[in-house]
Structures are given as structure tokens and as C-alpha cells.
């Protein structure tokens, strides 16, 4: 990553769809229990006004539950939710001034695209002329004008998704909530829509909370990412630091494709030892530890030059690069090499790692052991 941070955008003057009253959203010590299962543990988050925050995690980690609690579709067992300065914890969804885009889009099948987009305004009893202008304006901004008289069943997946977006935009809410909006699209369309979403959020400057399990979406779209595992917040940070400065094993292993290599061993006397390798470690820690290093931060050299050695287990040509899997002792490590690499299975090679990109984690707690 070249740039270290992305700034939250200043609200731009994009036609009349700018949302001047975009607000911050906060979760304070929110917990949620379903029956006997605790789904969220004491979650606290502050989303800045105008920020694009992604809730990232695997299926079942609680991210969608957190989103629904913000929306008011579920109640929090403990804790409170704030939109701007207001405590909305006990308020009904319709009073919270948030809009949501569902994974299934939740379009009304018997209403036209126009009527779908207009629905939030119709329900609030706005004047007909005002509704008409607002809907056409928003439809233009998402390129849906020719489809206004059609029905959802006549639209493609991408078009339906834009209708769902338009319906959320037209209300000019304080915040957008999005529940995996791209997961129902095919891969090519997904990439295209990612760019569209990013552009739109930048133009509108609306606070957006976005739920996904796809780390690529998280890294490319977010100003900040909140990684959640089993209902517990793991790390809340800008994508660059999530990538380069993971707080624990989970974060380190979740982000990055191919994933970070983990080698188990012991830390003692400033040295990391595992079967087949010894490494100088500039950390003050004793005990079982895990060494983490990304495939792209490793380099293959001759057996003699390496910091440690291993035997080639397999070589996979990806296209613009190759992945080499090495056996180091009982464990394996994957290294990204150039696509011209000509090694053979069984060959002994040496490994060098970028010092600054080697991470240590306590094996029991998973927490990162930082350099002194």
C-alpha cells in the first residue's frame, strides 16, 4: 500500500442529492443474546459522520446482527445506539433516520421502479411534485431513468440493486446501512458495482455502514474496517493498518490473499525457534508463539543464503506470479515468486523474509507481540 490513509470526504455539491445532515453513528457496549447464545459481546464502535465503515467477518460472526440492531430491526440486549447526538436505542426503525439496502434488495414486486423509489417519500406524505422531482433526480444519478416504469421482475440483478440504492438515497437519511449488497451479483458485475458504490459514497458524503464477508470489498471501499469474530470486535482501523499492523492472529489470518503464513514455535531470549528454523526476534516475550509472514513478503534464495531452509512441496503458476509451498520442518509456508520461477518439487531452498513484515503472536491469546 502506498498511501497510508484515506480521508473521509468533505461533502461535495453533487446536484441536490447531497446530504448535508449526515450524522455519526455509535454503538456503546452493545451485547445481544438469542436464547442461550451470545451473539455480540460488548461491542463499541464510533462511525464518524460521512465515513464509510465496513463491518467485516465470517458468516455468523454477528456483523449482520450488529447492523440490524443499528437499524432497529433487532433490539440490543445491553448497550445503546446513538445516531448523531440522539439515543435511538428504544426508537422504532422508522424514527431513526437510517436507510438500509438489503442483501436480497427487498424491492416491492408489484410496484414499478418509480413507485419503489418513491415509497419512503409517499409514506412520509410529501407533495406529489416534490416526490416526482426527487425520484427522477436520484434515478438519474444511478442511471435508472429508462427503467422507471418497469417492474422489478423485468430488471437484471445489477439494476435491481441500483433500485434498492436509489430507494435508500432518496430519503436523504443520516446514515446508510448496507447488508452484503454485492453478494448476489456475479464476479464481474461485483467489481463494477464496487467502483460505483465508492464513487457514490464519495459524492454524497453519507455515513455508511457496510457489512460483508469479502475482504476485497472491505479493503477497497472502506475508510475504516471493523473486523468482528464471534461477536467480538477484533480491530477497528484503516485498511492499510489492518493489513500491515494486525492486532491479533484472527485479523492477520483473515486479511490478505493468499493468507498469511503462520509458523508455530517458541519465543525465548529474543529468538524464535521452531523445527527447522531459528530467527532473531526483537521482542521481549517468553513462551509459545506464532510467527506470521505474508507470502508476498518472503523471498526464495539458495539454501545457503536463506535465513532458514525448506523443501519445495508444490509450485502453482497463477498467471502473473507463482506460489511455492515449502515444507519447513513439520509446517508449511507459502511464498509468492515470479512466474518465471523454475524450482522442482523436493528441491531445497532458502527463505528470506522482510524484517519489518514479520509478526509475532502469542499462541494462547492470539494477541500481537510488538517489537520493542
Amino acid at each position: 500500500m502506498n498511501h497510508m490513509e484515506r480521508q473521509a470526504p468533505r461533502p461535495s455539491h453533487f446536484a441536490s442529492s447531497t446530504v448535508p445532515h449526515s450524522k455519526s453513528v455509535s454503538l456503546r457496549n452493545v451485547s445481544k443474546t438469542f436464547g442461550d447464545t451470545r451473539v455480540l459481546h460488548d461491542l463499541s464502535l464510533d462511525v464518524h459522520a460521512g465515513e464509510f465503515l465496513v463491518l467485516l467477518g465470517e458468516s455468523g460472526c454477528g456483523k449482520t446482527t450488529a447492523l440490524r440492531i443499528i437499524a432497529g430491526l433487532e433490539s440490543a440486549s445491553e448497550g445503546s445506539i446513538y445516531v448523531g447526538e440522539n439515543d435511538v436505542t428504544q426508537q422504532l426503525p422508522r424514527d431513526r433516520d437510517v436507510a438500509m439496502v438489503f442483501q436480497s434488495y427487498a424491492l416491492y414486486p408489484h410496484k414499478t421502479v418509480f413507485e419503489n423509489i418513491a415509497y419512503p417519500l409517499i409514506v412520509r406524505k410529501r407533495a406529489k411534485a416534490e416526490i416526482d422531482a426527487a425520484v427522477r433526480d436520484v434515478a438519474a444519478s444511478v442511471h435508472l431513468e429508462p427503467q422507471l416504469d418497469r417492474y422489478p421482475r423485468q430488471l437484471s440483478g445489477g439494476q435491481r440493486q441500483r433500485v434498492a440504492l436509489a430507494r435508500a438515497i432518496v430519503r436523504r437519511p443520516a446514515a446508510f446501512l448496507m447488508d452484503e449488497p454485492l453478494s448476489n451479483l456475479d464476479a464481474k458485475l461485483r467489481g463494477h458495482m464496487r467502483a460505483e458504490l465508492k464513487h457514490m459514497q464519495h459524492e454524497l458524503g453519507v455515513t455508511t455502514i457496510y457489512v460483508t464477508h469479502d475482504q476485497i470489498e472491505a479493503m477497497t471501499l472502506a475508510h475504516r474496517v471493523a473486523l468482528i469474530d464471534k461477536g467480538v470486535l477484533q480491530q477497528l482501523d484503516v485498511p492499510a493498518r489492518i493489513y500491515s499492523d494486525p492486532a491479533n492472529l484472527f485479523v492477520a489470518g483473515f486479511i490478505g490473499s493468499p493468507p498469511m503464513n503462520f509458523l508455530r514455535g517458541t519465543l525465548a531470549n529474543n529468538r524464535f525457534e521452531a523445527e527447522g528454523l531459528t530467527l532473531v526476534a526483537d521482542v521481549n516475550h517468553h513462551g509459545e508463539a506464532v510467527l506470521g509472514v505474508r507470502p508476498e513478503d518472503c523471498m526464495l534464495v539458495t539454501a545457503a543464503d536463506g535465513e532458514f531452509r525448506g523443501h519445495i512441496y508444490s509450485v502453482e503458476l497463477i498467471g502473473d506470479h507463482s506460489l511455492v509451498t515449502l515444507n519447513v520442518g513439520e509446517q508449511q509456508i507459502v511464498v509468492k515468486v515470479s512466474n518465471m520461477f523454475a524450482g522442482e518439487i523436493g528441491m531445497e531452498v532458502g527463505l528470506r523474509a522482510n524484517r519489518e513484515r514479520v509478526y509475532f503472536f502469542d499462541q494462547r491469546s492470539g494477541l500481537r507481540i510488538r517489537q520493542c
Binding site: 408489484h110 419512503p120 409514506v123
Partner: protein, 352 residues
């Protein structure tokens, strides 16, 4: 072949009798020595029903025409005329569709005319109108009650399962049994509700002697039996409504009533229409309730057309009985097919 036995059975027991019945409706049956004799008399049986000696039985007694009936007729004629006209001017025209709508319109007008001229002071309802009364009001009542109960059961209340199983019960009771049960209950002297009647001051009213009260009691029995059916079907439909759409509407700011109107109702419309159609088809055939509950009485006030046919048959008027039966066939077919084309089709088409 697989289908053949079923087809043959139906042929033998439906088509053949159907055709025979048609023929029978055109004859006069008389008992002679050693057997019976069938004499072909053309449409006389039908004519008797509509304007002859059986008119009071089938069509009813006409009341003196008044301003109200006249204006109702005119309004209905204008409305149906406009409806036909807009269809003809619309995009999807077809010969079959046009003829169908013409038949429906004509039947509707005849119905309105009949209603205007037999209901109320001085007029008496015949079996045709009584059957229609049972069908229209009975099914409407059952639908509304079923919908209400189903909606209540979709709320997160404790004991939902218990209610569902319980409400299912009446469907299993034999209609004849239901008729007697309600006859017992409605007894104003020794029935369980006697204290209630007395308290309301109605203790001396014999409901069995008043035409309209008797008809209402029949509808009560019919409703008790059939609400479970509507309840079950509508409950399933309500539970099948997309939760995402409801939540989206909630977030959009809609009140509960609006959500029902804009999301839930369109979602259950196809199933509801089918259920009403099924119920309509069955409702036309009602015979056990009026027979056992009121014996068709007082007089002929609660006779449905099937019961009417049965009574004719008992008096050995085979021709007349067949004629009434055929009229029922026509009326119920026109009603059901019209309902299907105009309501069910449209409800189904609105879904993606």
C-alpha cells in the same frame, strides 16, 4: 395405460350422467304400471322454474317495484356498461374474453335485478337467491374471519401453536353433526344461550319461523365449519410473506397498516384468491346444513338449490329436479369461471 382407468371412471360417472341429466331436465317423469315413463317436453321444466308454477320456489316472489330498486338497477346497468366498454377499448381484447365478459355482465345485471325485486318488503327469495346469499355472504364472512384470525396468529404471542391446532377442529366435524349441534344451541327455550336471549328480550322469538333469522343461522353454522380452512391457507400465505420487504417498509417509515396494505396484502393476494375460489366452488353445493338445521324452512326460505332439487326428486318430479340441478350447474360455473378469470388471474399475475 395409467390415465385410462381414471378417465373412464370420470367419463362414466360425470360426463355420462351430465348428458343424461341434461336430457332428463327436458322430460316429464311419470309413474305408470310396472315402471316409469319419460315424456319429452322440451324446455317446459325450465319455463316452469322461471315464470311458471314453480317460480315462487326458484326465483322468488316479486315485490312491488319502487324508486330504490329502479335506481339501483340503473346504477348497476351503467356500471356494467362502462366496465364492458373499457374492456373493449383496452389493449388485450379477444373474442373469448369478450363473450365471457358479456356473459358475466349479463348474469350480474340479472342478479342485481333479482335482488332489487325480491329483497325487502313484499318480496320473497327463491332458492336461487338463497343459494347466492349463502355463497356471497358466507364466503365473505369466512374470509374476513379467517384473515383476522390468521393475522392474530402471526403476531409473536405465546400459545400460537395451541391456537392453530384448536382452530383446525371444526373442519373435521361432519356437516350433519354441525347442523344438529347448532340446532341444539340455537334452541331459544332450552338451549345454552337461552339466558342470553331472555336477557336481550328475544326469548320469545322462534328463529326457525323467521326467514332471515333462519338463513343467518345457516350461515353461522357454515361459517363455524369453514373458517378453519380460510384460516389455515391464509396463515400459510401470511407466513410466506417476505420478511425483508416488511423490514424495508418499516425502515422506509410505513405504519403497520401501510405495511399490510402495501406489502402483505399483495403478497397473499394470489393464495387468498385461490382459497376463495375453492370455497366458492364448494359453497354452491351446500345441502346438509339447510336440510338438517331448518329442513328448508320456514316454508322454503332456507332452501339451497341442491335442497330444492332433492325435494323435487322426493315428489317424483325427476324432470323438475334435473332442471333445478342444471340451473345450479350453470350459475355456479358462470360464477366460478368469472371469478377465476377476473380475480384469480389478476392476483396471480401481479407477482414476480
Amino acid at each position: 395405460m395409467f390415465v385410462l382407468p381414471a378417465v373412464l371412471l370420470i367419463l362414466g360417472f360425470s360426463i355420462f350422467p351430465l348428458v343424461t341429466s341434461a336430457y332428463l331436465s327436458l322430460v316429464r317423469f311419470s309413474l305408470g304400471e310396472g315402471g316409469y315413463e319419460l315424456k319429452f317436453v322440451g324446455m317446459r321444466n325450465y319455463v316452469r322454474l322461471f315464470s311458471g308454477s314453480q317460480q315462487f320456489h326458484f326465483v322468488g316472489v316479486f315485490r312491488p317495484p319502487g324508486m330504490i330498486s329502479f335506481s339501483v338497477m340503473v346504477a348497476a346497468a351503467l356500471a356494467t356498461g362502462w366496465w364492458l366498454f373499457s374492456y373493449l377499448r383496452g389493449g388485450h381484447r379477444s373474442l373469448v374474453g369478450g363473450i365471457g365478459r358479456l356473459i358475466t355482465a349479463a348474469s350480474l345485471l340479472a342478479l342485481v335485478w333479482l335482488t332489487a325485486n325480491t329483497v325487502g318488503h313484499g318480496g320473497e327469495l327463491g332458492s336461487l337467491m338463497v343459494t347466492l346469499f349463502y355463497v356471497v355472504f358466507g364466503v365473505a364472512l369466512q374470509f374476513l374471519l379467517g384473515l383476522g384470525l390468521a393475522y392474530l396468529c402471526t403476531l409473536p404471542l405465546k400459545g400460537g401453536r395451541f391456537f392453530r391446532i384448536l382452530f383446525f377442529l371444526p373442519l373435521m366435524v361432519t356437516p350433519v353433526g354441525i347442523a344438529y349441534m347448532f340446532r341444539m344451541m340455537a334452541d331459544t327455550a332450552v338451549g345454552p344461550l337461552a339466558p342470553v336471549w331472555a336477557w336481550l328480550g328475544l326469548g320469545q322469538i322462534a328463529w326457525a319461523a323467521d326467514p332471515w333469522l333462519a338463513r343467518i343461522v345457516v350461515i353461522i353454522g357454515d361459517t363455524w365449519q369453514w373458517v378453519p380452512f380460510m384460516f389455515l391457507v391464509l396463515l400459510a400465505a401470511l407466513e410466506g410473506t417476505s420478511r425483508d420487504q416488511i423490514e424495508a417498509a418499516q425502515l422506509d417509515g410505513a405504519s403497520n397498516w401501510r405495511i399490510f396494505r402495501d406489502v402483505t396484502w399483495p403478497s397473499i393476494a394470489p393464495v387468498a384468491a385461490s382459497a376463495v375460489l375453492i370455497r366458492l366452488i364448494e359453497a354452491f353445493k351446500v345441502v346438509d346444513l339447510p336440510n338438517v338445521l331448518t329442513n328448508g324452512g320456514p316454508g322454503i326460505a332456507t332452501e339451497s338449490m341442491t335442497l330444492h332439487a332433492f325435494i323435487e326428486w322426493r315428489t317424483l318430479n325427476l324432470g323438475g329436479a334435473s332442471a333445478v340441478a342444471y340451473m345450479l350447474f350453470f350459475v355456479s360455473t358462470i360464477a366460478c369461471v368469472s371469478f377465476f378469470q377476473l380475480v384469480v388471474r389478476r392476483a396471480r399475475g401481479g407477482q414476480s
